[in-house]
Amino acid sequence: MGVILLTKSPSHFSRILVVTKKELVDFIRDWRTVLAMILVPLMIFPAIFIALPLFLQGEAAEMSSYELTIEVQGELPNDLNSHFEGRNLIIIETDLLVNGTLSEPGTDAVRLNAGGIENIHAILRLRQVDSNASQSWYYAILSDSTDELSLEAKTRTLDAVLTWEREVINATLAENNLTYAEAWDPIHWDGDQADADVASGGDLAAMGLAMFIPLVVAMWTTTAAIQPSIDLTAGERERGTMEALLCTPTARSDLLFGKWLAVATVACVSVLGQMAGLLFAVNFLTGGGLEAPSVSTTGVLLLLLSVILFAIFVVAIELAVAVRAHSVREAGSILGPMVLIFIGPTLFAQFVNLQGIEAWWFVLPVFNITLAMREALMGIYDPVHIILWLSTSLAYAIAAIWWASKQFNREDLVESLS
């Protein structure tokens, strides 16, 4: 085989980078990974916050274009009748034949049920009663809640009735020389309630993020790392590429770190994409009026540190579990439910009061990182808390890497059930 080509032995770091680069190229060339790891996280919040409301608006506009028929039983006052105008309703007036409670449908139920032949979408029953008010009425609207058109007819009718009711109240108050505000709002907040909040827009934005970011980071880091972790370990075993890779002079720890770096990169890009999508959607909904969150440099650094430590911890655990699995299917069936182990505590920690919080919370795995992220975003810098979550998170991350490294040194890594 002639001349030995080896010129210099590459450093551990350069070998790690070679592995990482190759794995990233492999990810990028798989459209499913790009879709699942980049596009979906980027689009999910804009889809929920922008596209869904737009869709619902369109559906509502479509519903309002239908001409619906209302049967009014009893005397229809002119002032109510005027409120039916412009609501795309056909009003049929009939006599009120009910003597008891107006809500009891009686034989009208058959007329309204879906498939009824009379094409009446709702029935408004009205009965005037004596009172000290300018006028007083009992009413009921009969409708079929399983029929979309009947529900829409009820909504339009109710809206007209409530508007009319407001007028009746105003008229009664006027007869007694009172205004609506005097009668219903005698203890009145002066000015705008939002103006009285001394928190700046940036503080409010930071508080809002404190509710979202830990959850997004925990959910997406854990879920985004699953597929690549499986692909780079159990997947390689199944495809037979692991044996050839282990035959190279690269130390197994370097291979593991290279793979870990690739998975962590993909997971971080995924999380950042989701956060960017979230900020874009919120900014869009607030008409571009979203203020930049007021987070200090220390807060940003602590936030990044906590995210990195969490990513090290989670990705190492998922790689280790995936290495232990004997097949891709087995790895998937273990790692899927395992996500709950990370998301559960994160969700729980969102409801823990930061005021007067006990220090031991910052020792518990996952809880500590979630609370650290919340404190960093809220501008709370307690040295005891920081020392506790930093040291314990670092210890958990090192333990996870050690365990992953141990799994990656297993002799049966070249074998698979398939």
């Binding site: 085989m1 001349v3 030995i4 190759k22 190229v25 002799e411």
Partner: protein
């Protein structure tokens, strides 16, 4: 032949309750093409994996020799090129990218690796396919890619695990010719096969493994003459007839795979 490059001394390898190799001792010397011959489950792949450090011996030692100094088998890896039976190619990379990935891990400059790869690819009539994605490659094309990958860093020793298994006649012939050429140029090749005709054609020396034990070690002519047979096939049968063995050939087949399966389903660690 030259000095020993790999020394296997009293090696036994067990998986759970199955002994895959039992007290095997053999040296592999510089400049020879050695055929590891044996039936399915004889222990050939286990020995190859011990030679490249994927497995650790249960007892005994496997040593590499570099510049007349014994080295740990892991240190020997940069001098070894391996073609595993499964070839192990990444489907989303081209043939050249697969080769380059391994050559980079071996510390080889891309230009140097390309020069060497192109030279051997021409010998295998594969140079036009180097930039094609390996997805959809035939078995022969995969085998050629794996062979080029193993050669890209200029190893002193080439370990081939049944490199012609499943290949068509033309591809198998090309692989054999390349191996013979490497041997003629002074390279060391350890070549696992259960094809006796192929072993006789390609190898300077044949090591017969049967039921995890070394049964014979010598040139094809020596094996034939030592058994008094007319050809290598008869010599092989004579050397592997074993009235004392417990396992029948049918039982023996796949016994290591079964042992691994038992280990895997238990999830037990093995030493490394």
């Amino acid at each position: 032949m030259g000095e020993a490059l790999l020394k296997v001394a009293d090696v036994t390898k067990t998986f759970a309750d199955v002994t895959a190799l039992s007290t095997v001792s053999v040296d592999f010397n510089a400049g020879e093409v050695v055929g590891l011959v044996g039936g399915n489950g004889a222990g050939k792949t286990t020995l190859l994996r011990l030679l490249c450090g994927l497995y650790q011996p249960s007892t005994g030692t496997v040593r590499g020799i570099v510049d007349e100094n014994p080295v740990d088998i892991h240190k020997m890896r940069e001098h070894v090129g391996v073609v595993p039976e499964a070839t192990g190619l990444y489907a989303r990379l081209t043939a050249w990218e697969n080769i380059r990935y391994h050559s980079r891990l071996n510390g080889i400059d891309d230009d140097m690796a390309w020069t060497r790869t192109e030279r051997f690819a021409k010998l295998l009539n594969f140079d036009q396919d180097l930039h094609r994605s390996t997805r959809g490659f035939s078995r022969g094309m995969r085998q050629k890619t794996a062979l080029l990958r193993a050669l890209s860093h200029g190893p002193k020793i080439l370990l081939l695990d049944e490199p012609t298994g499943g290949l068509d006649v033309t591809s198998a012939r090309m692989v054999r010719k390349l191996v013979r050429k490497l041997g003629d140029e002074g390279g060391t090749v350890i070549y696992s096969t259960h094809n006796l005709a192929e072993a006789q054609q390609v190898c300077d020396r044949i090591v017969i493994i049967h039921n995890g034990t070394l049964r014979a070690d010598g040139s094809p002519a020596e094996l034939i003459s030592s058994t008094g047979c007319d050809d290598l096939e008869e010599a092989y049968v004579a050397l592997t007839e074993d009235v004392s063995r417990i396992d029948s050939p049918a039982e023996n087949e796949g016994r290591i795979a079964r042992a691994w399966r038992r280990l895997l389903t238990r999830g037990g660690d093995s030493s490394d």
